[in-house]
Symmetry: C2
Subunit: 365 residues, 2 copies
């Protein structure tokens, strides 16, 4: 695994995490500019191995909450997540030993590194999704351990801050956090889900920062070698290239703290239609009205020529893209997990029909 | 002034505070049932005199937040405000000496007494409105001192709780609190605005619990004597009976944490129309399309026969009512106050044209 994240690692991580973000997790380009500026000041960020970390370590989970459409218009102040981290420490009157990444997808892979640099503590190479999901209860730490979202802290770009000491359930934590995020302009840093090292070991999707980095490196190499980049992405993730075509329609609205809508594309020959519906992340893909992939399996859109991630907020008419289907990590496919992240959890009356395979979260070769 | 609130005082306070609530503040009948059940268990609740209290006393302001339409459907668990009080104490790591009433109107006059009984501390006979207002920045403690709404705590009927340590401004505190209240089912206990006794002295609208009690006593006596109760209400408050008639239309919707809409009535002779617009509270009254009264002056609706308060959530077709206009207390009519509670603060392009007089907040004879 990567032992630290240096300046040179930012670009591959931005590409890899952008692809793993399945449309969401925040704009990876803006995230990488921000990480770069902090890293030039503070140096590289150490990572720690989730499988050898101290069982008694006290950790928290960090991510941004909001709509990715907003993330490209309302830029961060830069210390949101760090201030939420300190606020939660103050609330529990204890110090955290390390930060765990809420979701490896998009800029949410990079913001916890920034918070770690600002706090002077390491980040664990593990996350709770192996991708991105729109809601905070959608976390392997929650359906895989007895951890809860509460207490959690949120801070925005200005002086607005909130601590939620208790909530009825993790789903209620999401409802409350989402409404607070709306008050905060649909973008806030959120630090939650206090755990021990042992809990991270048990339920994390491990080495996903290393995977994002590796995936990005493969993309960059394939670009340089003029290889077919979508195929390289699919092979690296044990997935397959589902579709190649041109975006012909985008229906996207920012509502109640999410970007919701759908995207439609036509194959280059013009005889096939692929449609994807999203709530921040791409959730369900249909080819010619037949369901092809559903959450929690990953639906990743990349540019057809360069294999660069195409996230929800930059979808637009005319872009030539490839859609890659990737089997979800096993932790997301248990019954408990599917209740939270399967198609029914998003209101689709569809059974989850898993793609075969699935190795995200395992150390790449 | 009243030195304590006993079981016998509940009915007069419910009537008086119901009238002073100008439609809002929560249903006074339900509030009084709740106060009665707690008082049967814990005894009477001591009040303290705002003008002789210790300047260094540490106090907080307590009220419910939400839509009055919800308050009659979603009953309280009973300790919401008390738990918010304890949560705020825990957050600042200090104990409060007394509770101050956010708004004397409606059930919000009684809930702080309940919290005081549960916490075993006195309640100050002073509030920040002399009536009810829909939003938390609408407080004489805020436009009259350098106190801020933050830090504040909110708790709902279940286990949802929130602490807001900081916010950009009091208006932002309202936005955040309102969205949290929506997550909490449009009803939550809110404890905020930490102050010293000196600040209460300086900016409070004093003796309004005593006034509510006195007003209720006058109403009960007038009912017994078969006097014209609306006239007695108007005389007690130095106001005037603006209109008598029958409600002919109610347009009321519960939206974004408020009850909003309007009520229309016809005079008994049928030749005059009075219309009132509300956001929880009655804000502006027009007679035959001419503006007659605007916030912060009080627009109170009572039943025409008995002079009982008619609050926003119980307005209905056919009720025979009297509308009483009452000059606002002076603290609400300064330039600073009118920026927050005048008609323009509610989006009406109308100047405030004050009714003459105004003694609410002064000790009744």
């Amino acid at each position: 695994m990567l032992s630290e994240v240096t300046l040179d690692d930012i670009r591959p991580i931005a590409i890899g995490a952008g692809i793993l973000g399945t449309g969401g997790g925040g704009n990876p380009y803006l995230g990488s500019l921000h990480l770069e500026s902090i890293m030039r000041e503070k140096g590289s960020q150490p990572l720690i191995d989730p499988l050898t970390m101290d069982d008694d370590a006290l950790v928290c989970v960090a991510g941004n909450i909001g709509a990715p459409t907003v993330s490209i218009e309302k830029l961060p102040e830069g210390t949101e997540m760090y201030r939420a981290f300190r606020l939660l420490e103050q609330h529990i009157n204890r110090k955290f030993d390390a930060i765990v990444i809420a979701e490896i997808g998009g800029a949410n892979s990079m913001q916890p590194l920034i918070a770690g640099l600002q706090a002077g503590i390491p980040v664990v190479d593990s996350d709770s999704m192996g991708r991105a999901f729109p809601e905070i209860q959608m976390s392997s730490f929650l359906f895989g351990t007895d951890a809860t979202v509460t207490p959690f802290a949120m801070v925005d770009a200005a002086d607005n801050a909130a601590v939620i000491p208790t909530a009825i359930s993790d789903v209620w934590s999401e409802k409350i956090a989402r409404n607070i995020a709306v008050s905060m302009g649909a973008r806030a840093g959120l630090v939650s889900t206090i755990m021990t090292g042992a809990q991270v070991k048990e339920a994390g999707i491990h080495y996903t920062m290393t995977l994002a980095h590796h995936l990005g490196q493969q993309v960059i190499e394939a670009q340089q070698q003029k290889s077919d980049v979508p195929t390289v992405v699919a092979d690296t993730l044990d997935g397959n290239v589902l579709f190649r075509g041109k975006i012909t329609d985008v229906n996207r609205r920012t509502t109640k703290g999410f970007a919701r809508g759908g995207v439609r594309m036509e194959s280059f020959a013009g005889n096939d239609i692929l449609e994807i519906e999203f709530q921040n992340e791409f959730l369900i893909a249909k080819i010619n009205d037949e369901i092809a992939v559903t959450t929690p399996d990953l639906i990743c859109i990349v540019t057809e020529d360069e294999g660069e991630p195409v996230t929800t907020e930059v979808l637009r008419y005319g872009t030539r893209v490839a859609v890659i289907a990737v089997p979800a990590p096993e932790q997301l496919k248990t019954t408990a997990a599917l209740n939270v992240v399967g198609p029914k959890a998003f209101g689709y009356d569809v059974e989850f029909n898993p793609l075969s395979g699935g190795r995200i979260g395992y150390l790449p070769n």
